[in-house]
Symmetry: D2
């Protein structure tokens, strides 16, 4: 008999994640507030349930994939929530991208109640979720990590251990703050090169091998026709939207505030994405920030003779 | 008989570059405004000259390595300068890191006067210069590039072609703007992780393999004890100073102004390095920016049980 | 018989505010979680109570002065809290500086429960509280505003009506965001003048009459010896600390996030105050930001002959 | 017989300034590189001249109003320029807004040549120039200042003494840096209030009387319908364009670089105006920055019942 996994929150990310578990032969007990989402889960083979407690029933593991900290607090902490209804020893896996404080507080409450909990946020987005190629960054005890590894490996191509509970979300937020900065830096660097009438392809190749290199430049070029398979080649159809990057940068700046840190580049990245989104581009891929920083240079021709 | 190369400007960078040429068997005619520098060049085997014109005499190639645009304008354009005194067909190689406008203007004047000119700024710093491992980024005609390649290869481990004259300096400025942003981003990301009581080594390893990666993080970690051979392990003894990074960011922002570009991350990087230098750290290695953004978290212990 | 006012939260600000009410002849029923604070209130003539409900008993008006949104949520919304225990028709006045969302949510809950509520945050700080010279910015119905006016006038020199409930806190946050920006701008402008060897007194007088003027420059000069009675003349002894300004800027940026706004100058002000506080100056007066932006120019002498 | 004044540079600003001198009865000897401008000056009663030297001939005072530092260097320092051709003891008044370094260098050269020189940049723009209501900020000796006062008073409503030569331009640059910051801060503050559904008129009135006040808010509101006679009421028709503010902020950041200062708010203001101009708004009034920071909230209705 297959192992039973509760799954709460089957939206854009959660549904394809649950689908991977079903394909791998797990029994999935699904719960979501949306009837149409439950219907979709049912069509994929999940058992539809009508409450958090019902989803957790008979499950040795429960996965949650929720939009924000307040949903996580509600699903875990409220009467009828996971901490109240899950059987002792259940492993709770929260893959939501939320604030560190909530993650640590909920994890601590779960342990106090005799449960195990890890935070296991993902990178890679909807496309990666659909093909089981997410990256999980996991916080929790090493024992819990080992217990979760097989299940997470069904949904992801990499499962990395970050440290104590809360560390998964902590490292993800740090990573994405750095990424938000890198993407704008890559965009403004290439657009400056364009205005300077430099040969963009040569500029790109040189910087990509030199000290100005960053992941966004190398793997997710914000200018088109430099590398294959990126949103900039396709009118900045997302991918990962500018609005999602803004959300992650807000989480980062919340973390900065919560520990009295300072992060002037992260703050600037949030300011620039906020301008971009407030001017109508929240649904554009986040690499489209080159449109804002590039401005009217967007269609400047390169004149090799100049 | 060996080829004769004029060399003008033999400071911290120029002297070890000339030394490589001498070691490779070239005849070097040296000129500098400093008597003690000329003395040092003489001891390495260079022929000491007393004017720009004398240094250029009989040389098929002249290399210049000067501190700023105004020195380049003076050495090339003034009466008695290179453009007036170099023999027709001489190849002029300017390795100074200066503004794009000056580089293009001087290059254009040289060509008008029947000379060849390339801009060939370097990355890698004094240590690389001493062992002939600089990286040259070259702007000029492809013919001039090919003509310069053998000589530059004596002083550098890589010689990259960037495009028309001025492109070497243009690409270097773009690269270093992106690098300045990356270094601060790496520092504030790791210091945020420290304040969040994350495991720094694990955080570093994960981000370094993920989308938050950049060159500064991977190769020049601003926090100690993460990788070998970097100034952060050695009290931020430079290396490349914060003052030098500030200079390069100023050149970048000058370029931004000159072509009506916008570069909010580059502007922020300059603002942060300006704060750092104005508070007494101009001579600290540029990776020491972690001291400013880290603040009083610098000595926070990591508590794995928290 | 005098009117009875409940007063919850008698810290640095609340205690002197309650003292003004006592001096004006009101009966004050005080509650605080700190025993020593209650003792101090008792010595000023307040009736000490042991719970929120007891403080509200027999009071037609209850004033709260609490540190943060979570305390306000707790005092108003939890079982035994104000909304449960206050008599129908009681006027609740929250003078805490908190986030707009909490203020609006609590106000709405109060009205639903048959109570009246205004938010009435203050400006002016502890010194103003001690002499009854605070400024109140009030949000609520006009009827509630009129009902509160007499009491607030006892504690403040100005009582301004900002609009619907939540508007008092909203306007205060907007005001203080603008102030945080102004203070840094004033500091960096004067420190630039100092480095340029301009006559600071003349520079100050001219800008103060010209388009560069702002309130911080005119009334709270971040450089000493320009106007009387400001912390810069007294080693930046607060006054209003840098840490408090950071708190208000965090509230502002939370508000920006909550409504998808963009505020690049406010974001930068928070980044700069975060650097300042993280480097050990959270308890310095907020005008002391001139130390960070001024750096080593602090003691530059003015040389009128240069 | 009337006093003769040379006037060099009669563009948008220079022509109406010269007109005021003519109206006041001065003889004006005009020189400009544009034939049509000289024609216009002639129609106003000026004597047209064909060189710098001819304009200076017989003049006890020469006024220059030029676009940038390089024009000032050229007009004053080149062969046939003012310093060579003006009669000993001539008072040179440079009203151009240029960099401090050029102003000081040219002033020093003039004094060395036996001339008197003041820098006297203006604020107030073309409209003020047309009605003789400019504000002059003057750098030079007090004797030169007194000598210039009568003439400047013909063109301006205020003539302020800032200190030694170069101080006029220094103070103006400091002032305008602070103004650029203030305008964006005013815009983002009001647009945040709008998104928070605050009553904008009340918000404006309260902040304008409180610590968030600045000159831009009080006198040049970036949102329409708050005060009379400002470009925001008129579709942001300039006035003083965003491009001109960008130019002044560039001069400010050049000054910051030249003396190793730090000005994070000024840097941010330049970054924001650069984004605005690069996206097609260089000719919009600088108060139109509210369009960029306001984004899609521009037409949000105020709902007093919310």
């Amino acid at each position: 008999m297959s192992q039973t996994i509760g799954f709460i929150g089957l939206g854009n990310m959660g549904l394809p994640m649950a689908e991977q578990l079903l394909k791998a032969g797990y029994t999935v007990r699904a719960f979501d507030v949306s009837e149409s989402i439950l219907q979709a889960a049912s069509e994929l083979g999940a058992i539809v349930t009508r409450s958090i407690g019902e989803a957790a029933q008979g499950a040795s593991v429960v996965v949650t994939m929720l939009p924000a900290g307040r949903h996580v607090r509600s699903v875990y902490l409220e009467p009828g929530g996971l901490i109240e209804t899950a059987a002792p020893g259940t492993l709770l896996i929260d893959s939501s991208t939320i604030d560190v404080d909530t993650s640590r507080m909920v994890g601590s409450a779960a342990v106090d109640a005799g449960l195990e909990m890890i935070d296991a946020p993902v990178t890679g987005g909807v496309m990666a979720a659909r093909i089981g190629k997410l990256n999980f960054i996991v916080g929790g005890t090493e024992a819990s990590f080992k217990r979760a590894e097989a299940i997470l490996s069904v949904m992801g191509k990499s499962v990395l251990y970050a440290g104590a509970q809360g560390s998964g979300i902590g490292v993800k937020i740090c990573n994405n703050m750095c990424l938000g900065v890198s993407m704008i830096a890559a965009a403004e660097t290439l657009m400056l090169a364009k205005r300077l009438n430099l040969d963009i392809k040569r500029t790109y190749e040189i910087i990509n091998q030199a000290s100005g290199q960053n992941w966004a430049l190398s793997n997710y070029s914000p200018l088109p026709d430099l590398i294959d398979g990126v949103p900039s080649n396709n009118g900045y159809k997302p991918g990962f939207t500018a609005g999602m990057m803004r959300k992650d940068l807000r989480l980062a700046m919340d973390a900065v505030s919560s520990v009295d840190a300072s992060a002037p580049m992260g703050a600037q990245a949030l300011a620039v994405y906020s301008l971009f989104c407030a001017n109508g581009d929240a649904q554009t891929d986040y690499s489209g920030i080159s449109k804002l920083v590039g401005g009217d240079a967007w269609d400047y021709p390169f004149d090799p003779g100049k």
